[in-house]
């Protein structure tokens, strides 16, 4: 029997955290935010079929940033957990809160018991009967769970994007308005924080690579719906035409939108 090298728990945890943080920082970001009609998911995702945003249950959605195979494992496990609970009890007994704590336990156990932690951040969102009943749970690689009011930002540029979203309140905004402010936050330049420095570079790939979905408050039973790229482009475009002077980013969106349609 060989004796393992000794490492203090403190050091182990620190190193695992560092590994997870670095992994997550490499990935592109995802935003989840509530608006008047429900919950909006916006993720930067170059793939059309490998999703970062998914339906988990009737009123519950999931978004993630980080390593794909790891959050895909969690997504499938979450669907299984929710379907099992709903089948054993009743569909109404599946809640975002219980799903979030299931994820928290899982991530916490992986973080402390396994050699390599999951390099993921996830968000569990449940749409309620009114905007103040919407629930957003933000879970990090170590199983920490935070209930966030209004919005959750995950992935690489989380700090910058959160900064851009912090002052806005979307409780009474329409879907198109909320989508526009999410996209402009997502494409904010990290260095300047205002998106004025290098205009075209950061923004253009983002527009063609947006994965957008909503949990619609008024839809009966299954609230989750993906928004096809053409509709996303339209929503971003129309806003630029109407509210042109609102921010510096908008004219950029308008010029990019027609190109996207091709």
């Amino acid at each position: 029997m060989s004796m393992p090298f000794y490492a203090s728990p403190e050091q182990l945890m620190r190193e695992r955290s560092e590994l997870a943080r670095k992994g997550i920082a490499k990935g592109r970001s995802a935003i989840v935010l509530t608006y008047a009609g429900g919950v909006l998911f916006v993720a930067e995702n170059p793939s059309k079929t490998l999703h970062k945003v998914s339906e988990i249950y009737d009123r519950i959605g999931f978004a993630a940033a980080g390593r794909y195979p790891e959050f895909e494992n969690l997504r499938v496990a979450g669907i299984r957990h929710a379907d099992l609970t709903g089948y054993a009890y009743d569909r109404r007994d599946v809640s975002g809160r219980s799903l979030a704590s299931f994820y928290a336990k899982t991530l916490g156990a992986i973080f402390t018991e396994q050699i390599k932690p999951y390099e993921v951040e996830i968000c569990v969102a449940e749409v309620g009967a009114s905007p103040d009943l919407d629930q957003l749970y933000h879970l990090t690689y170590d199983g920490s769970i935070i209930e966030e009011p209004g919005f959750v930002v995950m992935g690489g540029q989380a700090e910058t994007i959160s900064g851009a979203l912090r002052d806005s309140d979307h409780a009474s905004s329409s879907l198109a308005e909320t989508l526009r402010s999410a996209v402009s936050a997502l494409t904010t330049e990290p260095t300047t924080g205002k998106g004025t420095a290098s205009k075209g570079e950061a923004r253009e790939p983002a527009l063609g690579q947006l994965e957008v979905a909503v949990l619609e408050r008024d839809r009966p039973h299954r609230a989750f719906r993906r928004i096809p790229p053409a509709v996303v482009t339209e929503m971003l475009g129309e806003g630029a035409a109407k509210t042109e002077p609102a921010t510096a980013e908008k004219p950029e969106d308008a010029s990019a939108a027609p190109d996207e349609k091709k």
């Binding site: 496990a77 099992l84 609970t85 054993a88 336990k105 156990a109």
Partner: protein, 281 residues
């Protein structure tokens, strides 16, 4: 029910079943919580007398398919329930109705619905219509032991095949035997349950594959009336209590939609009024 096995043990890394490959909810249930599977109960070998549901009809029409059932459940020679609902919408483009032991039927329909949704959520696309039909066959087969005890339940499955070459002929009907055998009904109509003999005879004369949805609903309700006329276990439209047959219509444009109460009432009243003039239909 084994409620304790519903939640994975706290603090542990995910149980293997949660991370296993595959996308069947039934397979997952078998691994994670077998007590919840239909047929997972203790057996005593005796026969069980439970309420039974009766006649179901499926009819295709131009551009879709419908499935309809009467509302009676019987237990021996008693009416167990007058307004039982035997037709279930299982996803956007399919529905199932089950004749036989009501308890088994409801459980099968519920599990089948979760199974279809589960697949759709995991893969981001729905199963093909044949995939759905085969899944249901597996579940019926799983119930064989209970069927031997007198708790047989046979589904009739209908769906709109979104991959069909001709959208006018995309409605399909699939029937099952108690051992899980799966049969495509190419005639465009089928019936199962105790009154099915009479319902099928009526459909054979009346079914028109080129009819529109309204005409098909009328034909289905007429067939159920004929079944009720000659089979004690099938219920007539109950005009006194305002209980009418359940009908689910499936078309490409609107998906699976339950016929609303007002329309169901209008059709049932028209059929009954027609029979007063001409009892032969």
């Amino acid at each position: 029910m084994e409620q304790s096995s519903v939640a994975p043990s706290s603090g542990a890394v995910l149980p293997a079943a949660y991370l296993a490959p595959g996308s069947s909810f039934v397979d997952f249930l078998r691994a994670a919580s077998p007590g919840l599977l239909p047929g997972g109960r203790a057996e005593n070998g005796g026969r069980v007398d439970a309420p039974h549901g009766t006649t179901i009809v499926g009819v295709t029409f131009r551009g879709g398919v419908l499935i309809a059932g009467d509302r009676r459940a019987t237990s021996g020679n008693l009416i167990a329930q007058r307004d039982v609902d035997k037709v279930y919408v299982t996803d956007d483009h399919s529905a199932v109705a089950i004749a036989g032991a009501a308890g088994i039927a409801v459980e099968l329909a519920r599990l089948f619905t979760v199974e279809l949704q589960h697949y759709e959520k995991i893969h981001g696309v729905s199963l093909s219509l044949d995939g759905k039909a085969n899944q249901l066959a597996g579940m019926v087969r799983g119930n064989l032991e209970q069927a031997m005890m007198g708790l047989a339940a046979v589904p009739l499955f209908v769906g709109y095949d979104v991959n069909a070459a001709d959208p006018d002929r995309a409605g399909r009907i699939i029937s099952y035997d108690v051992a899980g055998g799966r049969y495509e009904e190419r005639a465009g109509y089928h019936a199962v349950g105790s009154g099915s003999l009479f319902a099928k005879s009526a459909l054979k004369k009346r079914h028109d594959p080129d009819a529109d949805a309204d005409a098909a609903v009328r034909v289905a309700v007429e067939a159920l009336y004929d079944a009720a006329d000659d089979d004690t276990a099938t219920g007539h439209p109950d005009l006194v209590r305002r209980i009418y047959p359940t009908v689910v219509l499936i078309t490409g444009a609107e998906g699976a939609v339950r016929l609303d109460d007002d329309r169901a009432e209008a059709v049932a009243r028209a059929v009954v009024a027609g029979r007063q003039e001409n009892p032969g239909g």
